[in-house]
């Protein structure tokens, strides 16, 4: 596992003036930022602010129409080889888990390593079982995703992403589709991952998690980064009015 001392000053992700439209709707209106290796960034903001779209542009699930995204020194263009290289370095966890229902949990995890990283099936299974153990659900390996709870499914999805040994993990509202009592088991896994030194970009509404784990919180509104500050400053001394309103609203309930 990478440690914090590996952190260099070369950012692992660089975004320069990213614009994105859905038809005529301007979702991202010029996002410029960068992330360091090992950095844990939480991205929050009201729905429709472009936060999910933003992290989906980083592994090209969404195409940006203007600007520049450089991941690990490789620029994201239409070149399919580059896209697939970057996707192997960037793991992603979805709101709806998106596990493959026709494969067992174990097969969900070994598919990428076997078919993309081209490692032997035996080894992939050993690694997958170790990951499931780390997620505390080793006993669910041979069940199908539909046979386990939402919290367990999301942990399988995290294990599936980690099996590719990514350098960056993207989380797109990983707890939003979960029943309240299952949120903490997923957050625990993410906390453990953060401690291991993984570079993480997390879109979430879990402000407690953000305050505790994040190095940095980015607040999106209407396709722009409105606030970008460490948690202490973000919560206690926000600069922008919109941020203040958002914080007061999310902390109220």
């Amino acid at each position: 596992m990478d440690n914090k001392e590996n952190t260099t000053n070369d950012p692992i992700i660089v975004c320069e003036d990213i614009h994105k439209w859905y038809d005529d709707f301007h979702v991202l209106k010029g996002i410029t930022t960068s992330f360091q290796t090992g950095e844990r960034a939480v991205i929050c903001g009201p729905s429709g602010s472009g936060k999910s779209t933003f992290i989906r542009t980083i592994n090209r699930l969404e195409e940006h129409q203007q600007g520049k995204i450089i991941v690990e020194g490789i620029e994201l263009t239409n070149d399919l080889r580059n896209i697939n290289l970057i996707r192997q370095e960037v793991g992603m966890v979805f709101q709806q888990f998106n596990l493959f229902p026709h494969l067992t949990n174990l097969q969900n995890i070994t598919l990428g390593p076997i078919r993309v990283r081209k490692i032997a099936k035996k080894q992939a299974e050993t690694e997958a079982l170790a990951l499931l153990d780390r997620m505390d659900i080793e006993d669910q390996a041979n069940k199908y995703p539909t046979e386990i709870s939402g919290g367990q499914q999301q942990r399988v999805a995290i294990a599936r992403a980690l099996a590719m040994e990514p350098k960056i993990m993207l989380f797109d509202e990983p707890t939003s589709a979960l029943d309240p009592e299952m949120i903490s088991e997923v957050l625990d896994v993410m906390r453990e991952l953060a401690q291991s030194g993984m570079t993480m970009l997390v879109v979430t509404h879990e402000m407690g998690f953000a305050r505790e784990v994040a190095d940095r919180i980015l607040f999106f509104d209407e396709g722009l980064i409105v606030e970008d500050a460490p948690p202490a400053e973000f919560f206690d001394n926000p600069k922008h009015e919109r941020t203040k309103l958002f914080i007061s609203q999310t902390l109220q309930h």
Partner: protein, 393 residues
Amino acid sequence: MATEEKAQSHKPPRNVHSPQEWLRQNLFNTWYNVILSLLSIGFILFISKGILTWAFTEAKWSVIPANLQLILIGSYPRDQIWRIWTVIYLLSVLLGMSAGIWHGIVRRFAIILACVWLICAIIPFQLATRGLFLGIVVSIAISYLIASNKISWHRWIVIGWLLSFPMTMIVLRGFGENAVLTSNWGGLLLTLILAIVGICASFPLGVFLALCRQSKLPAIRWISTTYIETIRGVPLITILFMGSVLIPIFMPEMNIDQVVRMMIGITFFSAAYMAENVRGGLQAIPRGQTEAAHALGLNYPKTMLFIVLPQALRSVIPAIVGQFISLFKDTSLVSIIGLIDLLGVAKSITANREWLGLQAEVYLFAAVIYFVFSYSMSYVSTEVEASLGVGNT
């Protein structure tokens, strides 16, 4: 909910009725239902009496055994029948071995087929024929035992099945002086060959067309859509006529076998329908599935092969098998082009002066054969669906 007493779980109320009760509740519960039931029963009795009287007293079933060979293999030279037996034996060995390796539905299928052969062996044919039937059962059993649990052989068995088709064609046709030209292939043999070729070729072609129709590239999408809509707009018989009449006119230098032309026509026709069935399955796969696959770094072909197609095809098995069944029955149209398939043989038997006026018996027998094969496909499809049901959403 923390109550003092634990909520007791009860069994659901049982709704079992005696037959009399059932009849009274469902068929004779009101005066108009009584009338409807009596009328229906009278009608059923009337019809079945007519059919049974005909089948057991008037029908001259002797036409079937007298022409059985003709119905099964048409005018295939009688001294070359060993070729057909060879093919049956080869396929039986393959099936037996597959059953030994995969168990499950393959084994059940092999057992059912072995039972059918066993029944054939009991029917009083010539002694040699019955011996050969029994031999098939024995060879299925032996190859099952040999391959039993030898999982490492499965790759060879798959290759064997892939090779079985060209092998069948070569063995059936043969070379040199003794070659059996396709014009001599007939009866059930021809029907089965046309259907199997049509099914095996139109399935991958249909999947390919469905994927093309979903392509991001407009040119590919457009070509595929045009193909599908054109073919679906034309009756199969027209396509078969084109294959039979137009190809020799347009390409006189290309001397393509008549049977092969029919195979191509049937395949191209069925592939268009197959493509639409598969497309239905593809559309039902949520976008999150491809996104998750892409996020893992799987490229387009791998995403399709490992994620999308397995789910899409599973969900459209009923539609696909329906297409197979209709293809199987549609092969009877080649009799209009002049090929002597199962239906063609039936037609020619009834035209024979010796068997004049026995259409009912002959066509009924042909219908039963069509039904047995169609229903078998339907049965296998429900079995396959059930066995793939695990982990289905």
